[in-house]
Every structure is written in structure tokens, then in C-alpha cells.
């Protein structure tokens, strides 16, 4: 008999954490949808070159959000209260790449990167709406 051992130790994520994973997935889907809509709009208005620049920024934004979510998931589990800042390195690398290569433009890449923020705002607005009673 192992006294003092936790009763419900399991490798499965708890029900509470399922909510967090659902939030992550919702944000990811929303970023992808918004990026797709913006990519097509930019393609139609400014051409394929600028649209591909935008897409590069949007893809980095998605990876940034995933890395941030992973870092938030790790907070408190290894005894530290700090959130890692490795996600910022991605952005720095992207902007340096955009400034060094002639084919890339800074502004569409930066605005593409900020698509993740638009999705956060949409998510916040959606969560403020009264939920469907059915």
C-alpha cells in the first residue's frame, strides 16, 4: 500500500486543461481563416508578391501563437513563474530576414504577423456575446 500517493494520477489531460486546448484550437482556426481571407484580399488588391509576403508573416504569427501557448502551458509546472520569451526570437528573425532580403517587404510581413492579434480580438468579442441557450 502506498500511503500519501495521489489518487488520480493519470497521463491524460484533465477536464480543465481540455478547455485550454480547445481555446488554443479555436484561436488557431480563427487565425487560419483570417489569414486566408486577408491573403486573397491582398492578392487581389496588391498582387501575388505582396500577398506571399503577407502569408509569410501570418505563418510566423501562427507559429508564434503556438510557441506562446506552449510556454504558457509550462508556467508553474517546472517550479518557475516565468513565461519563456523564445517566441520573440521568431519575430526578430523574421524582421531581420525581411530587412536583409530585397524580395521581402517589411510592412506586409509585419501586418501579416499581426493577424494573430486580430484573431484574439475576434475571439474576445465572440466571448462577450451572449451564448446560445440551445
Amino acid at each position: 500500500m502506498t500511503e500519501g500517493a495521489p489518487q488520480n494520477v493519470s497521463t491524460e489531460p484533465s477536464k480543465s486543461m481540455q478547455e485550454y486546448y480547445k481555446l488554443q484550437q479555436e484561436l488557431l482556426v480563427m487565425v487560419l481563416i483570417l489569414s486566408g481571407i486577408a491573403f486573397v484580399s491582398v492578392w487581389l488588391v496588391y498582387g501575388l508578391n505582396i500577398a506571399l509576403n503577407y502569408l509569410l508573416g501570418a505563418c510566423t504569427g501562427v507559429v508564434y501563437l503556438k510557441v506562446l501557448a506552449r510556454n504558457v502551458e509550462r508556467v508553474g509546472t517546472d517550479g518557475s513563474k516565468r513565461v519563456g520569451s523564445s517566441q520573440l526570437a521568431l519575430f526578430v528573425a523574421l524582421i531581420i530576414l525581411a530587412t536583409q532580403l530585397n524580395q521581402l517587404h517589411i510592412l506586409p510581413i509585419f501586418l501579416g504577423f499581426l493577424t494573430y492579434k486580430a484573431s484574439l480580438i475576434v475571439y474576445m468579442l465572440r466571448s462577450l456575446m451572449p451564448s446560445d441557450p440551445s
Binding site: M17, E19, L65, V75, V83, L88
Partner: protein
């Protein structure tokens, strides 16, 4: 590049990134510390607390990103040279 413009740009980049990371740094530290305390007190609300922390940190970190963009543009694609 004019040495005065180069020096001013480096100084401005240092100030931009320094000041832009000061406020969000303090805010992120406070938010994550409170979140860890909240999870320790109420482990059943872990998912909700971490979700709120994720959204809060993403909003706060975008302020650092704005400063970072200004600093990197001044250093690598200076419009005043």
C-alpha cells in the same frame, strides 16, 4: 551613413526596445505570478486560468513587438540614411 544619424539611430533603437519591454515585462511577470498562485489555489480552474493568461500575455507582448519593430527597422533598414 552620416555618423550622427547612425549614433542617433542606435540610441533610439536602444531606447525603443528598452522602454517598450519595461512595462510589458512588469505586467507579464505580475500576470504569470498571479496565474500560478491561482492554479495552486484552484487546480480545477487550471484550464480557464491558463487560457486567460495566454490571451493576456499575447496582448501584452504585442506592445513589446511594436518597440522591437521600430528598433529593428532603425538598425537594419534605416529610412534616414
Amino acid at each position: 551613413m552620416d555618423p550622427l544619424v547612425a549614433a542617433a539611430s542606435v540610441l533610439a533603437a536602444a531606447l525603443a526596445i528598452g522602454l517598450a519591454s519595461l512595462g510589458p515585462g512588469i505586467g507579464q511577470g505580475n500576470a504569470s505570478a498571479q496565474a500560478v498562485e491561482g492554479i495552486a489555489r484552484q487546480p480545477e480552474a487550471e484550464g480557464k486560468i491558463r487560457g486567460t493568461l495566454l490571451l493576456t500575455l499575447a496582448f501584452m507582448e504585442s506592445l513589446t513587438i511594436y518597440g522591437l519593430v521600430i528598433a529593428l527597422v532603425l538598425l537594419f533598414a534605416n529610412p534616414f540614411k
